[in-house]
């Protein structure tokens, strides 16, 4: 086989796999939109009544129904929605009358900041804890990690958040309270700091406003710590299980027989293989925090995507719910693709 024909076949292969990924992406999306759309129409919440309230006359209700396009057949409403979504238009929130895309641009950075920091905590603590537990199964350390993990699984986040607030904010005064900044800074932020990313830590750092930055840190530490704890519980359990599995493999015995230092056996040889499934676990946990931090956001008055979608659902603001869902879907798909890429990076077999 000549080099050029081999290149050609590699290119065709690449194109084919890219096309496959794109097609599956398109179907995933369409499926996501369809399911959410149907659920949105099946729930017994009348968006018109929830906007106009108890006093509206029949004529006002009818006019609003037409304005929102709810008088059209379902398939037509769905078609319009898909068409607009493809053009980057997620519609207008029924409740606030603002473009959904603008609202999400406001809420998503707050969630992104919180979930990223939470995941960082989860990985930094969870991975070493899991590894430590796996290398000394049955030991005190293992029992401790298991206990901490179990508590993370079983304690309701609502309770954990309130207790955390009470202790660290209410009694000890170690951290800032609910919200992203103290009131004094909240006002300054609005007028003195250019909001480039919507993430306060980044924006204040970029503006060199370190006083405000540290105030923001003091506010995010607790909610991020609580999310980090939940994420840690999951990551440490999974790391332990993956690592136990690897440590029983023959190549590990071989490395040990060859006299390789234990640290190297664990952190280099075994870890390389643990990383492959662990990346998926971390990505999923990250995605979960990005869309599932509703209760934490509520307790900490954190203006994020989770509470945005939930509030919207409760008042029947379906464009907002659908818009939020699309963004979460994109995040899931994006993180999946990212973990695919990372596989290739850590596992040479995946590059073939």
């Amino acid at each position: 086989m000549t080099t050029s024909s081999s290149n050609l076949s590699r290119l065709t292969g690449l194109l084919r796999s890219t096309a496959g990924v794109l097609i599956s992406l398109a179907f995933t999306f369409l499926g996501l939109l369809l399911v959410t759309f149907i659920i949105a129409r099946v729930v017994p919440i009348d968006p018109v009544l929830s906007i106009l309230g108890d006093r509206a006359t029949e004529a006002q209700i009818e006019a609003e129904r037409i304005r929102l396009g709810l008088d059209k057949p379902l398939w037509e409403q769905f078609g319009i929605y898909i068409w607009q979504a493809l053009h980057g238009d997620l519609g207008v929130s029924i409740r606030t009358k603002q473009p959904v895309i603008d609202e999400i641009a406001q809420y998503f950075p707050a969630t992104l900041e919180l979930a990223t920091l939470g995941t960082l905590f989860g990985v930094l603590l969870g991975v070493p804890a899991g590894v430590l537990a796996a290398t000394k199964p049955g030991s005190l350390v293992d029992q401790f990690v298991r206990l901490v993990g179990l508590m993370g699984y079983s304690m309701p986040v609502f309770w954990l958040g309130l207790m955390g607030l009470l202790l660290f904010y209410g009694v000890l005064d170690w951290v800032g309270g609910p919200g992203r900044l103290d009131a004094a800074y909240d006002i300054m932020l609005e007028f003195e700091v250019p909001q480039r990313t919507g993430m306060i830590l980044l924006d204040t750092a970029l503006a060199g406003r370190w006083d405000m930055f540290f105030n923001a840190v003091s506010h995010i530490v607790l909610p991020a710590g609580i999310l980090g704890y939940l994420s840690m519980a999951y990551i440490s359990r999974m790391t332990r299980s993956f690592m136990m599995n690897e440590l029983g493999q023959e190549y590990i015995t071989t490395a040990r027989v060859k006299g390789m230092p234990e640290r190297r056996v664990i952190w280099v040889h075994a870890m390389k293989n643990v990383m492959v499934p662990l990346i998926t676990v971390i990505a999923l946990s990250y995605a979960y925090l990005l869309e599932g931090a509703v209760l934490t956001e509520t307790i900490f008055s954190w203006p994020g995507l989770g509470s945005y979608i939930t509030d919207a659902l409760l008042v029947g603001d379906m464009p907002a719910v659908l818009g939020g869902t699309v963004v979460v879907g994109v995040v899931y798909i994006g993180l999946n693709m990212l973990s695919d890429l990372l596989y290739r990076f850590v596992d040479p077999r995946a590059r073939a």
Partner: protein, 534 residues
Amino acid sequence: MTFSPALRRVGSAAIAALMLGAAPAALFAETPADTLVIADAIDDIVSLDPAEAYEFSGLDVVNNIYNSLIELDPTKPGELVAGLAESWSVSEDGLTHSFKMKSGLAFASGNPVTAEDAAYSLIRAVKLNKSPAFILNQFGWTADNVEQMVKAEGDTLSITTDKVYAPTFLYNCLTAGVASVVDKKLLEENAVDGDYGYAYLSDGSKSAGSGAYVIKSYKPKDAYFLEANPNAAVFKPTLAKVLMRHVPEAATQRLMLEKGDIDIARELTPVDVEGMAGNADVTVQQDVGGQIFYLSFNQKNENYKNAKFLDAMRWAIDYQAMADTFLKGSMVVHQAFLPKGYLGALEDTPYHLDVEKAKALLAESGVAEPKITLDVRNATDRMEMAQSIQNTFGQVGITVELNIGDGAEQLKRYRARQHDGTLQSWGPDYPDPQTNAGSFAWNPDNSDEGKVGTLAWRNAYDPGPLNGMTDAAVVEGDAAKRKAMYEEEQKIHRETSPFIVMFQIGYQTGRRANLSGFYTGGAIDSAAYWTVTK
């Protein structure tokens, strides 16, 4: 694999950030001296345009941003004071009202406040025809005729109504948010396709008023920020800034209040209030709001036309026990359709739980083994009320089956007259007794095709003579006579209608002890921020 050194670097940076971050947390333990910081659930805001705002939180903002011709004095509940108009009079035929504007007043933009602006504001609200427009439509104003009926003549605004109404009825309606006076010049400069500046005001970040404050920023479901209006003249603000933070969780509000991170917490539960007792830094302000909670029964079911049966139910509810236990502080017993604070509201509470009396009345009624399906919204306090009612009705021999569901869905059934019994709440629309009389005790067309839509209609209740009494009270010019008419009407209604009014909502507002002068607006008005000092 070489990420452990990297991990170490990230880890130490994180710990450093944690330590540094924790230290300055206490720097701003108190709120700024010139700023009022409030925590409330503000996700009910639909709009901050006075022609559209119609929710509690939205109307609070409107009240502080805009002025009306006549205002309610926040320090003296129910008392009308001059707003942008310095005096007003009514013509001999009672159809035309003249409002002479104060001179020398300006909007926040610097534009002068004129009679032209006042006329424009009313016309705008009627033509935009948003939810609260009906308050103005009551005077016979429609999109087609409003320009002939509301006119500016020099420094006087002239208002004509389709028939003679009680002047207090008109004045009270003019204090509602929908009658706020907007800056015509500013809105017309920013109008798109003749929309009266509706799009301009729609994102809530801009205002066009002459009130105590102006909006500096608004982030839905997050916060709004107001700044003192330098041109404010009707009500001058004491504090330079107001920051409202959306804090939906009551326990969180309480914690922030006790820590001094906010000045006012507006959504405290009885549990929070009890927990704060003994803390000298905070105090709780109690007053009542306008919302009332009631049971009503659909008279398509003949049982509910039986006077004895209705009476049996009135004596089969443990009003006081509910108010003293799970509703403590958040509701007070109230048994008439006009909430306390309204002209003519009946404040006596003749009914209490009397199982034997109720049993006797039930026996006299002849209704055998009554069974009620009670629609209840899935909110904690309502479900608790419903369970208490189910229990005490059970003691009397009335079986209650609870149908618990989403509020909007239940509202749909209620509006379609498909319920059997329902536990509902009702908040008045404007500070005049007609708002509730016209809904609880007025239904001139009880047919299914009737387009009346009042609460009486929804329950298929024909109020008979009360229709005429409602019509007469709304045109009665003598305020004392008018009051007596509403008192009489409530008495009859309470004894004969298929409505059982049980409670009026209570506000428990937590505030820092160093702060004073905060008025929630009680039953008839919205919150005033301009009076607050600290």
